[in-house]
Amino acid sequence: MPELKTYKELPLGGVIPATADRPRKKTGDWRDEKPVLYPEKCVNCLLCWVRCPETAILTEDQQMRGFDYDYCKGCGICAQTCPTEAIRMVDDAEEVPPLGRIEGEGRQE
């Protein structure tokens, strides 16, 4: 256990400044379900990126790429918010391709 800071050492009011050297605790193992992406249906509106509370939506050149499973807590907001039903929640135990991208098939109901 790391040594805890004294009240004089702690940042004012409990503020946590983002610093590169601070290890970020992975919280992805908290989830029961996880999102997967059907890229053909995605229109890159990025509403999921806006609304994800964990910044776990990965993008590249403003295109939706997939999910950061190290931090996604499986809340399902992305799936709820997606206007084209390109995101679906699946059981966390299910094997999925990297970034959760399921290519070449439409969403299965």
Binding site: L4, K5, T6, Y7, L10, P11, L12, G13, G14, V15, I16, P17, A18
Partner: protein, 396 residues
């Protein structure tokens, strides 16, 4: 109190509402979020007209409750905005949950409190029961006697709140109706001088500084909560020295010299004294004047700063008196009044403790007269006064 240089004086007849709104206009805060409640509403009526007329650049957020008003203030202040609000009574009660959070997040929000009795029974008139909601919240609390002090305290409050050693919400308490709705002569400071006095606000961790992202108001479990509360102890303990420094600068600016945390009125050589906060100090001065004219050695300690409580200075000013009556305008049901408890505690370490009595007065706007206060000053000169709570103007 010294008088400003002739030529620099700008006298206006203002209500307490207008005095607060005028200070707010001159401060020109980035964000104000408020909800109407008697007897505060006119502060925001005046201020809203300044916003509508383009006299300030403020984003005025009209919310659906005081809980939301205070929450909006916390959000704005965390974003780095200079933020203010005003409320009273039930509105303050609804805010109080978020006031604790503002204090813990070290957000310098200046708040005018138009003191009004808490329900129930429901009442709209003045007492200090609403102010006492903040007693343990970690806010700085000032009490004004008149419109001039209200205006001056609003300006000084901002400097105290935003001082890097403090960074806490500050409440300027003004008695509802007695001060808010009555007109008084107020000497104003010129806009440019106020602007220079308050300076530019440089928030410590503005959320809008996206190049330096922060998490604010995080969860603090048993490993951290205690330490973060301890930081607040230091912050509020820094207020007295900061206030003295601000008072010094304010005197240079305005010619009005506030020295310390209370105004002693014929106190030095007094054998018998009253302690009071707010507008009743004016009545108490009339009582003291009358008895002094008859040769009685009586005086008054008018407290400006209730939080942090200036216990050493108060003890120093009251030690050696024969008897002191502490006048509380709020009950702490089941104990003595909140102000009495402070004074009693402050005097504990004194060798020469005065006999100390607690009087409750003015609840729910009950009027208190100079004659009643001269009676109190006479009662405490007797040896056999009960140590139980006394009540001024109550039908018993």
């Amino acid at each position: 109190m010294a008088v400003a240089k002739p030529g620099a004086r700008k006298l206006e007849v203002l209500t307490g509402h207008q005095a607060v709104a005028e200070a707010m206009r001159q401060i020109n805060p980035d964000v104000v979020a408020a909800y109407p409640i008697t007897p505060q509403s006119e502060i925001m009526h005046y201020f809203a007209s300044y916003v509508a007329d383009g006299k300030v650049d403020t984003e005025l957020v009209t919310v659906e409750s005081e809980h939301s008003a205070m929450s909006a203030c916390v959000g704005a202040a965390a974003a780095g905005a200079r933020t203010m609000t005003a409320t009273a009574s039930q509105g303050l009660a609804l805010m109080i949950e978020v006031v604790y959070i503002a204090a813990a997040m070290r957000l310098p929000i200046v708040m005018a409190i138009a003191n009004r009795a808490l329900s129930g029974p429901i009442n709209i008139h003045c007492d200090h029961s609403d102010a006492m909601l903040g007693r343990d919240a970690g806010v700085v609390q000032l009490f004004a006697e008149n419109a001039q002090e209200t205006y001056d305290f609003m300006l000084m409050a901002l400097r105290v709140a935003e001082h890097p050693d403090v960074l806490l919400p500050v409440w300027v308490n003004l008695d509802g109706f007695t001060l808010t709705h009555t007109a008084d002569v107020v000497e104003l400071i010129d806009d440019a001088a106020v602007k220079e006095f308050i300076g530019e606000y440089k928030p410590r961790y503005p959320l809008l500084d996206v190049d330096h992202p922060t998490t604010q108001g995080p969860f603090a479990l048993p490993e951290y909560y205690f330490e973060l509360k301890r930081q607040q102890v230091d912050a509020i303990s820094n207020v007295p020295s900061v206030l003295l420094q601000v008072q010094e600068e304010f005197a240079a600016l305005s010619g009005r010299r506030y020295e310390g945390f209370f105004e002693p009125y014929y106190l030095d050589d007094a054998d018998y004294a009253l302690v009071v906060m707010g507008s009743t100090a004016g009545t108490a001065k009339a009582a003291v004047d009358e008895l002094r004219a008859q040769g009685e050695k009586v005086g008054l300690l008018k407290l400006w700063l209730f939080r942090p409580f200036p216990r050493r200075e108060v003890a120093e000013a009251l030690k050696g008196k024969e008897a002191v009556a502490v006048l509380d305008r709020a009950l702490s049901l089941g104990s003595y009044g909140p102000l009495y408890l402070e004074i009693s505690s402050a005097l504990y370490e004194c060798e020469e403790r005065p006999r100390l009595y607690n009087y409750t007065y003015g609840l729910g706007g009950r009027d208190t007269t100079a004659e009643q206060l001269t009676d109190v000053l006479h009662q405490i000169q007797g040896e056999k006064l009960s140590r139980e709570m006394h009540y001024i103007g109550l039908r018993e």
